[in-house]
């Protein structure tokens, strides 16, 4: 029929075009010759204001745009000088004096002064700004009171610019891990004139993060930013150590996991934010040099509502915990080298590795359940396991549901909710068992065990234990790390004994990395300063 030309013409056109535009050079190749890193970051960052963001994605981008007082050696996690080229600590461990590098400049050429830091800390601690992570600065004397509005005057907060190049920080109490805090983005400075040009100090709604307005002090400067399309940064000529910079620029691409993997296989990005589980085995087998599993400071757990029977019975909670075969879960379902969790704090959190406190023991689980009045799961009421909608949470829940069914003879209904509804249910205690996870904010067990404190905003389990609270308070008053770790271990013991949180596994960050990338070291903080990264052709 003559009408077939309707079909043939568009096909021919598209064929011709596609052949004509076949990509000659991949991003990876172009990146190597131009020293531009193409990196997948998973999702669009919520913003570029270091005082307002809270996520991992934002961290990846901001690390190129800002620099704090200290930074971290990605290989050893040793604290390195950042904007502060040196510092002194008073004998009582309460006063830190930082001497700023006179060569530290903003991306517009202004020098970074101690006053910029006082401005920044006042900004993030101002209650009006509503910074979600302001509590990261609470170790500073008076910071909590100021942030909670108990005092209006920032002069009572222990941050002082002695002169343009000297910053003094007074702590509220001894904080052994204090020097690692300024590596977190909440501690990074913002450029006061830029902030004030586009609003007041405490304005959330501000245009200062737009590329045309942006001023930062990191190794790179913001060039373009288009939502869902990418952020590109270029070498900051004013960076204090511009000569150690090898990269000329970085392209941050907010691509979702599956697309990212496809892009990586096609040689379009150097690094990904993760690896789809289904692809892990394939890479292990075919391209082992491209896949990496880094330990990661996070725990995946099930939070139990201890106020609802039968879960109010400790033995039931223990039975549930003992009946989960975590080895089989991590090995066959998660596949990314996640570690089975038999305690709550991830191993080697700031040097602390908790002792394994229980094990996979179906026998004991059955016995405990029988003791609680449900032999072989008889008469066990139907309870619900709530998780937020996601493929990975679903398969973990499905696997565990079956384990409980097979080992204990109990039936647990699965229930998924959309993310914000799930958060709402969780906060209201409207659940029996709920999926939860925690990523550590800093390298200290407190960031994990603090979740169990009675008045913690994240302890939705209804479990209250004064002795546990006391142990954790003591850790903040103890300087000696052996003693602190002992206290943490005791807290771990109490937590696992009561089992309001059933630990399941410890996170791993899996990623795909091109062989041309140098200077990307595995570390538990997932901290990879871009000034140490370069691209070289490998054969």
């Amino acid at each position: 029929m003559k009408f077939t030309f309707f079909l043939i013409i568009p096909l021919l056109i598209s064929l011709f075009i596609s052949l004509a535009c076949t990509p000659a050079q991949t991003n990876v190749e172009r990146g190597i010759s131009e020293q531009v890193l193409y990196i997948g970051i998973g999702t669009e960052p919520e913003g570029l204001d270091p005082h307002l963001v809270s996520g991992v994605t934002e961290h990846y981008v901001l690390l190129s745009l800002f620099e704090g007082l200290t930074t971290v050696d990605p290989k050893t996690l040793e604290i390195l000088p950042g904007v502060a080229k040196s510092w002194t600590i008073s004998d009582d461990g309460l006063v830190y004096t930082f001497h700023l590098d006179s060569e530290a400049l903003w991306s517009n050429g202004d020098s970074v002064s101690a006053h910029d830091f006082t401005f920044s800390y006042e900004r993030i601690l101002s209650p009006k700004l509503g910074a979600p992570y302001a509590y990261m600065l609470y170790p500073i004397k008076g910071a909590e009171d100021f942030h909670k509005g108990q005092t209006d005057s920032f002069s009572e907060v222990g941050v002082k610019a002695i002169n343009a190049e000297t910053l003094e920080i007074q702590l509220h109490s001894v904080t052994p891990y204090f020097l690692s805090l300024p590596t977190h983005f909440t501690w990074w400075p913002v450029h006061p004139p830029t902030i004030l040009k586009h609003g007041s100090m405490v304005d959330r709604i501000s245009k200062w993060t737009q590329p045309k307005n942006f001023v930062g002090n990191g190794p790179f400067a913001l060039k373009t930013w288009r939502l869902n399309n990418g952020i590109s940064v270029v070498r900051n000529p004013f960076y204090r150590e511009a000569d150690i910079l090898k990269l000329n620029g970085i392209e941050f691409l907010p691509i979702n996991l599956e697309t990212e993997e496809r892009a990586f296989r096609a040689g379009q990005i150097h690094l990904t934010s993760g690896v789809p589980t289904a692809r892990i085995d394939w890479y292990r087998k075919h391209r082992p040099e491209n896949i990496r599993f880094d330990p990661y400071l996070g725990v995946y757990y099930y939070l139990v509502n201890t106020e609802k029977p039968p879960l109010s019975d400790k033995r039931v909670r223990q039975a549930l915990a003992y009946a989960i075969n975590r080895e089989s879960l991590t090995q066959y379902v998660l596949k990314g080298g996640q570690k089975p969790a038999y305690h709550f704090t991830p191993p080697n959190t700031g040097g602390f590795s908790a002792e394994k406190n229980f094990s996979y023991d179906p026998e004991k689980a059955r016995a405990l359940l029988a003791e609680a009045g449900f032999p072989k799961g008889k008469n066990f009421p139907e309870i619900e396991l709530l998780y937020n909608t996601s493929e990975s949470h679903k398969i973990v829940a499905e696997a565990i549901q079956q384990m409980w069914k097979q080992e204990l003879g109990i039936t647990i209904r699965l229930h998924n909710q959309e993310w914000k509804v799930y958060l709402d249910s969780r906060q209201k205690g409207d659940f029996d068992i709920v999926r939860a996870a925690w990523i550590g904010d800093y390298l200290d067990p407190y960031t994990f065990l603090g979740l169990g404190i009675s008045d913690s905003g994240n302890n939705h389990s209804g479990w209250r234990d004064i002795a546990f609270d006391q142990l954790l308070t003591e850790t903040t008053q103890t300087l000696e790390s052996d003693k602190r770790f002992e206290l943490f271990q005791k807290a771990e013991d109490r937590l696992i004994e009561a089992m309001p949180f059933i630990p399941i596994y410890f996170y791993v960050r899996s990623l795909l990395i091109d062989r041309s990338v140098d200077g990307w070291y595995s570390n538990i903080l997932d901290y990879h300063p871009y000034q140490f990264i370069s691209l070289t052709e490998k054969d």
Binding site: E46, A131, R204, N228, T259, V421
Partner: protein
């Protein structure tokens, strides 16, 4: 027709107002706010954040303020993406979706209409099954299946196309196909049934008897009225196509509007939800008007109504 357009544009005002109001109510009722996160901020801080956006005021005041602002053309800042205004985001993303949607529309029509006519002409002949199966591909393989399949074949295996991105013209082809084939199925099936209906009409039979070539019959007499259901279908379909597709955008990493439609709801980004809803509503109203105008053009008698 001019009168009709004017009347409809006037009707659009109360319609948009009702849509805005209903959406406002829906957003108020839905649990979870834009600033709820897994690591929650304290209630005091949350109140302060909400104060920045006027969410601390009583509901009726918020509503009045909200309507006044929209009347001034101010869609407010996005709650989720700090530093961006809703109209900025739409202005940035819509041209992309529009372009993708237009290509998809061209593909849908260029494939759908001929396939539909062909299968009508081959009615009750073996070839019909072939055309019908072709027509149904877009339905049997939804975008989230078709997209990865096309990528596997044409990008991973053959290497003809980039696996992602929106830079060169060749980047447009696979996404447009993925989006367009679905609509092509509907168009093909509706065209086929319309053509069959019209072919059986006595006046076509008469024309055939007079010995005009069958192709001329088709074009002169049939197509116009056969396509009436297709046109009615295309109104909302075009509005849907050019306002972006979440699945296609995510698969191919395209900075279009579709992902904002979906994600703004998940993020409870109220201003963004409102912006996208009103934008989409305007498109729907516009295209449904265009459909009515085309239908009048196809059947002038309608104008008397």
């Amino acid at each position: 027709m001019f009168q009709l357009s004017i009347r409809r544009l006037l009707q659009a005002i109360p319609t948009l107002w009702i849509i805005a109001t209903l959406t406002f109510i829906l957003m108020q009722l839905t649990p979870g706010g834009p600033f709820d996160q897994e690591k929650p901020v304290t209630p005091e801080i949350k109140k302060l954040i909400e104060a920045h956006y006027g969410m601390d005021k009583p509901i009726h005041e918020q509503y009045i303020q909200f309507i006044v602002k929209r009347l001034q053309g101010d869609f407010g800042p996005s709650y989720k993406y700090a530093g961006w205004d809703v109209d900025e985001i739409i202005a940035q993303a819509f041209p992309v979706s529009l372009e993708l949607g237009l290509y998809a529309l061209i593909i849908a029509i260029c494939i759908g209409v001929p396939l539909g006519i062909l299968s009508a002409l081959f009615h009750k002949k073996p070839m019909e099954i072939v055309f019908m199966s072709l027509a149904l591909i877009g339905i049997c393989l939804p975008a989230f299946v078709l997209g990865p399949l096309l990528l596997l074949v044409f990008s991973t295996e053959l290497g003809w196309f980039n696996p992602f991105g929106w830079n060169s013209f060749s980047d447009r082809i696979l996404p447009a196909l993925t989006l367009g084939l679905f609509y092509a199925s509907f168009i093909a099936r509706l065209t086929r049934s319309g053509t069959l209906d019209v072919l059986k009409h006595p006046y076509i039979q008469t024309a055939r008897a007079k010995g005009l070539s069958s192709i001329r019959i088709l074009f002169v007499h049939t197509l116009r009225s056969a396509l009436s259901p297709v046109v009615a279908y295309l109104g909302p379909a075009v509005a849907g196509m050019i306002s972006g597709s979440f699945v296609v955008e995510t698969l191919f990493f395209i900075p279009g509007l579709g992902s904002f439609f979906v994600n703004s709801a998940f993020n409870r980004d109220d201003t963004m939800v409102m912006g996208t809803v009103l934008f989409y509503a305007a498109l729907i109203i516009l295209f449904n008007l265009v459909v009515d105008l085309i239908q009048i053009w196809m059947n002038p008698k309608l104008n008397r109504d």
